[in-house]
């Protein structure tokens, strides 16, 4: 394979890297007041990336760089959604960051580096590429959490995130090295073949799997490897929380699926029973702990844990139904969490964070439209039709019931009943209580438009979920080579 053929699948990433370097240098020349230029440049970069990703899309699965890198439908869909998500993150956080003096070139460059990391994770077909992407993402995120360096709580969150994240990476690497020992390769396809043909050292394989699953669980933030999630979500500036809590979930999904399904399909019986425990524990602890929170960001952190647990149910079910529903769930979750954190930032002012439950009191009287949008988002998170969150839950439940784990579906719905309580509580605060503050809510027309689209999108996709569901199922079917 010649060099050019190798470069085509990665052209979006190359473009992104070039642009990041360009922005990094160009930003030095700009004064603080003209950061808007950088911002526009970043948005244009995202647009350019999506054009390239669409343009270089090829039917089927293309491997590059000696099978280290893969370009398939799933990677293209997830990348497109990542660009969209990242673009939304930037729109939501612009005003919030400007008011706090954090709207700097570094922020945007780090965000793009994180995106590059995610792209690499999404397209990786080799343990080393996977790890490379993961570290690029993680290091960017550590730095972003710590960007507000005079804030003790943010620094603490960054420290925690870094230490635990490094530990998780260590576990993952350790597991990978055991896999290498057992199968003699780091390439996912080769590992898969080796396992299917029988491996001499079964215990090495089993140990490796445990470490890998633990590492993945850390990155996904599922119980019992969830400790960092609430602290980081709470401590980081909301714009960073938004970033951490939304787009990287797509990459984490791809990462998990690539390792467990593409690489370790032969061990499905083992890892799916581990995931069952992780999923149930996440749904239980996440839902119960979320009830006790008064800080909204912390509450959403626990809610993330729950949602990731629910998503794992899809992976446990397996097959196109299962992986497709898990992907659909992740995409829907990203949309909902973008909206929810976006709303927190929208309601924040200079020197004031609207991140406690009380800040949402009486929102319906201050702004009926925003309250309505937030209600849609909360209903969607609770999985109540006619919002898209219902179909996310529905498709996962359908996949579980199909595999015969009906009891697991019952456990899942009972926990989501508990979850419904704290989402309803927010609706209650907005609609039934009197406002504590009567400060006018000031927000730019771009964020206002975006949050409206975000909320109505949740409703619209709830009325017409078919297309997105099919996209997810088809991309899983074409990419994971299950049959």
């Amino acid at each position: 394979m010649n060099l050019l053929a190798n470069l085509i699948p990665v052209s979006a990433e190359i473009f992104l890297l070039v642009m990041v370097c360009f922005i990094l240098i160009a930003d030095l020349m700009l004064t603080q007041s003209s950061k808007l230029f950088t911002y526009l440049l970043v948005q244009l970069t995202l647009l350019g990336c999506s054009i390239i990703t669409v343009g270089t899309h090829e039917h089927g699965v293309t491997y590059a760089f000696n099978n280290m890198y893969v370009d398939d439908l799933m990677s293209d869909v997830l990348k497109m959604l990542s660009y969209l998500g990242m673009s939304m993150v930037l729109v939501y956080s612009r005003q919030y960051l400007m008011l706090r003096g954090l709207f700097t070139g570094e922020f945007m460059v780090l965000a793009l580096f994180a995106l590059l990391g995610m792209n690499v994770m999404i397209s990786a077909n080799h343990f080393l590429t996977l790890y490379l992407g993961l570290e690029l993402l993680s290091l960017s995120l550590y730095a972003m959490v710590a960007l507000q360096r005079d804030s003790a709580i943010a620094t603490e969150a960054a420290m925690k995130y870094f230490v635990l994240g490094a530990l998780a990476s260590g576990l993952l690497l350790y597991g990978m090295s055991m896999m290498y020992g057992a199968t003699g390769s780091l390439e996912l396809g080769v590992i898969s073949d080796a396992i299917n043909h029988g491996v001499q050292n079964k215990s090495l394989l089993a140990f490796g799997l445990v470490f890998i699953v633990s590492g993945l669980a850390f990155k996904l933030g599922v119980v019992p490897f969830h400790m960092w999630v609430p602290d980081v979500y709470h401590g980081a500036p909301t714009a960073m929380t938004l970033l951490i809590g939304s787009v990287p979930k797509l990459a984490a999904f791809a990462f998990t699926v690539r390792i467990l399904v593409e690489g370790l399909q032969g061990l499905e019986h083992d890892w799916s029973s581990m995931l069952i425990i992780l999923a149930i524990a996440s749904m239980a602890l996440g839902n119960l702990a979320a009830i006790a929170q008064t800080n909204l960001k912390r509450m959403f952190a626990y809610s993330t844990i729950t949602h990731m647990g629910f998503m794992l149910l899809g992976l446990i079910s397996g097959g196109i139904e299962g992986y497709g529903s898990a992907m659909f769930y992740t995409v829907v979750y990203m949309m909902m969490s973008l909206g929810a954190f976006g709303m927190i930032m929208l309601l924040s002012r200079a020197g004031f964070e609207a991140d406690t439950l009380n800040d949402f009191k009486g929102l319906n009287q201050r702004s009926p439209w925003l309250a309505f949008i937030m209600m849609l988002l909360m209903l969607s998170m609770a999985g109540i039709p006619p919002t898209v969150g219902f179909y996310a839950k529905f498709s996962v439940l359908n996949a579980i019931v199909q595999t015969g784990h009906t009891w697991l579906a019952i456990v899942a719905v009972l926990f989501s009943l508990i979850g419904a309580f704290y989402y309803l509580r927010i609706i209650k605060l907005m609609y039934f209580d009197a406002p504590e503050s009567h400060e006018p809510i000031v927000y730019g027309s771009d964020t206002g438009l975006l949050i409206s689209l975000n909320g109505l999108g949740v409703l619209f996709l709830g009325l017409m979920p078919g297309t997105l569901m099919s996209i997810c199922a088809v991309s899983v079917q074409q990419s994971l080579l299950l049959y």
């Binding site: 529905f394 498709s395 019931v401 009972l414 009943l417 419904a420 309580f421 309803l424 039934f432």
Partner: protein, 496 residues
């Protein structure tokens, strides 16, 4: 379909569109516009349901006015609507009550008028959707979505303890719904990929699975009815809800539960239904007798009527699970009649509450002296609630008791006691509130019904009496579907 128009879709979406329009009128500066728009929307919403009645073919038990469009092709979920004799009348009933509720809230609701009116219109469309849906997921979507407006209605415009009540209402009903969802998905896999309710009716199911499915459905529907052990949310919700909310709760929400038994539990799991019929009848009788006694002890007017509703709904569930034509038709007529009567009683209490801001029976006395017209209407509805012949309630209760006698004398005997208890608690309530000397200064200041209230009461009075004297136009619609359902339920669905 009439003139090629999708009638059921119109009955669903017209109120919803008007609801959105009303919502768009914004804050209370535009309240008159919101009220007017809501009235127009609800009246139109009622008018568009009339073709269902006029064009209804009473000779067939198959679905009519069927609409079928692809919706979510991936899961073979369709936008599939249709009505039979069982569901059609409820669409009419619902649309009728939406008009009543809009009128009842005309002056009383002063804050956030547009949101109040819009919530009722949206809910009206969704309830029509529940009765019209023939795809179980479409049914489920409407079924859960209608909780949201009710949640808001009770929570925003309700009484002092409204937040506790509305949370309890929502979570109770959600618990049942989620278990039903799992059952629906299970059935989807059993039928080999169809969510159509009519396909569920045909599929063979082993006994254990039938019983589990029945239990899942039981949680969903029994909570809504509400049946005896899971009824506790209803008094709370009723007491705290604004008048309009109580009316819709009593007249429609409870019926949705019983409708679920008819449409899902009995035809999908006939063997389990027969096997567990004893339990269902026992729970129904407990509701009839025990809750009737509980109603006797209430000091709060709304609570009293709420408990009376539970007791009357016990009749409905008993009528369904004795599996004969009298029982089932009686149960359906009782559902419709109870809609009118309980709705009317809540409106009566609303009339008093608007003037006195008290639901306490002890605060009243001698109201007849100050509100003679009101007292007359209240008398009629109180009599109907105790099942007096000539009122609508008599027809249904009589038929259910007839049906029960055929099965077991003691069922009929126990159910018959309600005629005594029902009369006791309703008439005692009436006596304490309406008769006697003027109790206090506040009663002295009461003013009689205004024209709008007289209009509402007269409409209901005519219906209550009309249905009591001449129920044939309703019962002939039920006949074919009920008989078909009974034949269907009589056949075992166990796999051979």
């Amino acid at each position: 379909m009439i003139f090629g128009l999708p009638v059921i879709s119109i009955t669903i979406w017209l109120p919803i569109i008007f609801g959105i329009l009303v919502l768009a009128t914004g804050d209370d500066k535009n309240a008159p516009l919101a009220r007017l728009l809501a009235l127009v929307g609800s009246v139109l919403g009622f008018l568009v349901t009339l073709p269902l009645y006029i064009g209804f073919d009473t000779t067939t038990s198959s679905m009519q006015f069927v609409e079928h469009h692809d919706w979510i092709t991936r899961f073979n979920i369709n936008y599939y609507l249709g009505v039979d004799g069982i569901s059609m009348l409820f669409i009419l009933l619902n649309s009728f009550f939406t008009v009543i509720v809009v009128l009842a809230g005309w002056r009383v609701i002063e804050k956030r008028v547009s949101q109040y009116m819009a919530a009722f219109l949206l809910m009206s469309g969704m309830i029509n959707g529940v009765f019209g849906a023939l795809d179980s997921i479409l049914f489920y979507v409407f079924w859960e979505a209608m909780l949201v407006p009710m949640f808001i209605i009770i929570g925003v415009w309700g009484g002092p303890n409204r937040i506790y009540a509305t949370m309890k209402f929502f979570l109770y009903t959600l618990l049942g719904s989620l278990l039903m969802l799992v059952a629906l998905i299970y059935l989807y896999n059993l039928t080999g990929g169809s969510f159509a309710i009519l396909d569920f009716h045909q599929v063979a199911i082993p006994m254990t699975a039938q019983i589990l499915i029945f239990i899942a459905f039981f949680f969903a529907f029994a909570v809504k009815v509400p049946m005896f052990p899971v009824h506790t949310w209803l008094p709370d919700a009723h007491v705290e809800a604004p008048t309009g909310g109580s009316v819709i709760l009593a007249a429609l929400m409870l019926k949705v539960g019983a409708y679920g038994f008819l449409r899902f539990s009995m035809p999908i799991t006939p063997d389990a239904s027969h096997k567990l019929a004893g339990v269902m009848i026992a729970l129904s009788l407990i509701a009839i007798v025990y809750i009737g006694l509980v109603a006797l002890m209430q000091t709060d007017m709304k609570k009293l009527v709420a408990y009376s509703s539970i007791s009357h709904m016990g009749f409905v569930t008993m009528g369904l699970f004795i599996f004969n034509a009298y029982g089932m038709e009686g149960a359906l007529l009782q559902m419709i009649s109870h809609g009118f009567v309980a709705g009317a009683l809540f409106l009566c209490i609303g009339v008093l509450y608007d003037r006195m801001h008290s639901r306490n029976i002890a605060d009243y006395g001698g109201v007849a002296n100050k509100m003679p017209v009101f007292a007359a209407f209240f008398m009629l509805f109180a009599m109907a609630n105790s099942g007096l012949p000539g009122t609508s309630a008599f027809v249904g209760e009589f038929m259910v008791i007839m049906g029960a006698i055929k099965v077991n004398f003691w069922y009929a005997f126990a159910a018959g006691t309600t005629l005594i208890f029902g009369a006791a608690y309703t008439l005692w309530l009436y006596k304490r509130v309406i008769f006697g000397k003027v109790a206090n200064q506040h009663v002295e200041e009461l003013t009689d019904l205004n024209a709008r209230e007289v209009l509402i009461m007269s409409l209901l009075a005519v219906l209550v009496l009309g249905m009591g004297v001449y129920p044939l136009p309703l019962s002939e619609i039920l006949h074919a579907s009920v008989n078909d359902l009974l034949v269907h339920v009589a056949h075992s669905k166990l796999p051979l």
